[in-house]
Amino acid sequence: MSDQEPVIGIDLGTTNSVVATVRDGVPRVIPNRNGQPLTPSIVAIAKNGKRLVGALAKRQAITNAENTVHAAKRLIGRRWGSKEVEDARKVLPYTLRAGPDGNDVRVELAGRSYSIPEMSAMVLAELKADAEAWFGRPVTKAVITVPAYFNDGQRHATKDAGRIAGLEVLRIINEPTSAALAYGFGKQVERKVVVFDLGGGTFDVSILDIGKSVYDVVGVGGDTYLGGEDFDRRVIDWLTFGFAKENGGIDLRGDKMALQRLRDAAEKGKVELSAVSSAAVHLPFLMGGGEGKPALHLDRQLSREQLEELTKDLVDRCIAVTERTLKDAGVRPAQVGEVILVGGMTRMPRVQRAVKEYFGREPCRGVHPEEVVALGAAIQGHALTAPQAGSEVLLLDVTPQNLGIMVVGGYFQTIIGRNTTVPTSETHLFTTVQDNQTSVRIAVLQGASDRAVDNELLGEFVLEGIRPARRGEVEIEVSFDISADGIVGVSARDVSTGQQQSITVTATSGLTEDEMKRILDEQIDELLEKKQTTREFDLRKQRTQTTLEEIEALRPAVQEALERTRFGKDAVQKAEGVLARVKQAMDARDAAALSEQEESLERTLQLFKGLAGAGRGQGGR
């Protein structure tokens, strides 16, 4: 196994991401270079121009909100002007713009425009680097998870993000499927399983039928704006309100630094309350006290009961969504054989109690809620690259949304319903709507609305050469075919003449091939530039090191000279400053700073030579 190229499984989350692998047959999470299992899915250009990814980006997300991109997953593969993008624009503090073709979404970050796959790629590249540091060798193969409701475009865009990050994406799998896979790893499980996934920003509930190594998603639902951040916001509001009451109505939310600390403290307190019954929120010097007055502190105790009271409606919303999803799938709570909790928020005892009350059974405690999705992806990656007889896992995926065509009146006619297991095919008969109609436009759509305009247009084509006849007399057969890879083929045929036209809908991420090439080329250039800078730094460092060694060798003689006279002491003091700056530049691997100090360092060497020579000269007398 050690000789085989490692494969990683990535849970690319809206708020946090996790990377895992299977080593010696055991699935395990790879900690990031800070030793943490979770990496916030946040990218920022800090005010000092440094690019930050992960925890550091999160810690300045409020103070530098306009240059911090979080929740890029809400935008990936979405079209500019779509409801989802419009909803996101209302809550995201960074600037979004339409792409060059006016269709996809771009992010403005520190004066540069990025596609959403590029933003996600930065997070993926960070995870890749963490994995490489852990393995001590390059990692290029990955399985990435996406929500079950992601459409083809979103899946394709996620794959593109992987490509930009330098990963070969072996497969994109559904998050609930992945969780169930980790849950069923090494067991013989045959039952209906509900995956209750309450993450940082979204809530997803999925129903799976697990047969003999077959994982079948039979229903998905959720709320894309319900997650741990909403719970944090309630705590922030409670803290802010209490502070205002004690401090003459001062609203902490108006101060970015205070709000950043509040948010960090709220999240920490909330997490603590899953294990203990009371948490202290202690934030000294939180806000300036005004002209000449000392800064103000915040010091409060939050109990678990208070937190539960503050967030009761959010928990209720989760249960309501779960109820609706089960109803849509025709599944009763009593039919569910297991409930798998996924996402950090499901650690909250109140959430666990609500799940238990609804399903009438204890949720599964055998899997780690924050790691289970990545572990499942790692298991899938391992199965794809190192299949062993009898251990193949067949993942059956379903269509996340209804697929169909536009019909007269601007309505949407479903041909393949959501939750249909793929591969699949379906045929429907239609007729012409006008007398002597010789052509028909087939618009292929995906979505949940009855109105065609509200759904996503996947592609369109025109079937010509239809036999002229009275309306309703000509029958047109429309067939949909979805392959195991999710590629949708649509054909329309005039039944009487056999005249046929078809289209293959290939999902796009919003990036054209030219753009993709440009991005990949830029990365190569960046890499080469980095190499060049490194080489330049190494050369300078080598030269500097030699000079420093020469200076250090002269130091005893210089000391001796200085002991005899105070002449030159001032100059030596300044020279020490130069040496400190040179060492600092070397530590920081800053080639420019090193170059700036080169002349001063040379002068220092001359000074030391002069003083040492003089000292020796005197000593000889």
Binding site: N34, L56, P294, A571, K574, L607, G610, L611, A614, Q618
Partner: protein, 267 residues
């Protein structure tokens, strides 16, 4: 403290106007109210000739056109007295004692420069006419800016970069496009940043709290220092703190250097 600021302002104006006696009294008054005031001390040093080699004085006060080193040039040569018994002849000269070739001190002749009138006829050169005559208030503001600029340069030459920076910031508030002030701003900032950063040690070093967390609230900090202190978790290094702080690099470096000096933080 605002009285002290006003007094310093008054002292600077008096000093620049050549009213040394008045400046002396004003700065002494500042020290009575705020004994450690570095600005007043810097000026008193200047008045008492602590940097006589830098700013020559005449009996009537400061000489016009005193030599002020340009930013970027090394401070003007300060000749150290020869050691008792005379300097040994075989001592190699210090490059700083000589001053680098590029750091020559330029003395501008107040009457010097291009005589525009003399060339006007031949070159058809004509002075520009301002669109509107400057108002009395603008003229007063300009005079103040000139005074601050002069003082900022002198403080810079004295090595009081913080004092120089304060005045430069004042100038830029009044005249954001003041080119010379911008150049001094850059110089002051980079010098101060280097000074403060040198107190931090390697920027890849990880700062840690040197006191118990419960003792933090007994310190005398402002909310910006409180924010920075909250980011010190024993995992982030100085470079990351600069990125996290959201503050200008100079402010971050100054706060961190002060926290180290006060024994609150250790590397």
């Amino acid at each position: 403290m605002s009285d002290v600021s006003e007094l310093i302002d008054r002292g600077i104006k008096a000093y620049v106007a050549g009213k040394v006696g008045e400046a002396l009294r004003t700065f002494q008054e500042v020290l009575e109210r705020d004994p450690g005031n570095p600005r007043a001390r810097s000026y008193l040093l200047l008045i008492h000739g602590g940097a006589a080699g830098l700013v020559p004085e005449t009996s009537g006060g400061r000489a016009n056109g005193g030599a002020i080193p340009l930013p970027g040039a090394a401070p003007a040569a300060i000749r150290l007295p020869a050691p008792a018994g005379g300097a040994p002849e075989d001592f190699a000269p210090s490059p700083w004692d000589e001053g680098p070739a590029a750091a020559a001190t330029f003395v501008l002749d107040p009457e010097g420069g291009l005589d525009l009138d003399a060339v006007a006829e031949k070159s058809d050169l004509r002075p520009l006419v301002p669109a509107r005559e400057p108002t009395a208030v603008q003229l007063q503001g300009k005079k103040e800016v000139d005074v601050w600029m002069q003082a900022a340069k002198e403080l810079f030459a004295l090595g009081d970069f913080t004092g120089s920076l304060e005045l430069i910031e004042k100038i830029l508030q009044a005249d954001p496009d003041h080119g010379e002030a911008r150049e001094y701003l850059r110089q002051n900032e980079s010098t101060l940043i280097a000074m403060y950063e040198s107190k931090l040690g390697p920027l890849a070093g990880i700062p840690r709290l040197a006191i118990k967390p419960e003792e933090v609230m007994w310190l005398n900090l402002d909310h910006r220092a409180g924010f920075l202190l909250a980011q010190i978790d024993g995992a982030v290094d100085y470079e990351a703190l600069f990125a996290l702080s959201g503050l200008p690099r100079l402010d971050t470096a100054r706060i961190l250097a002060n926290l180290i000096a006060d024994g609150v933080v250790t590397s």
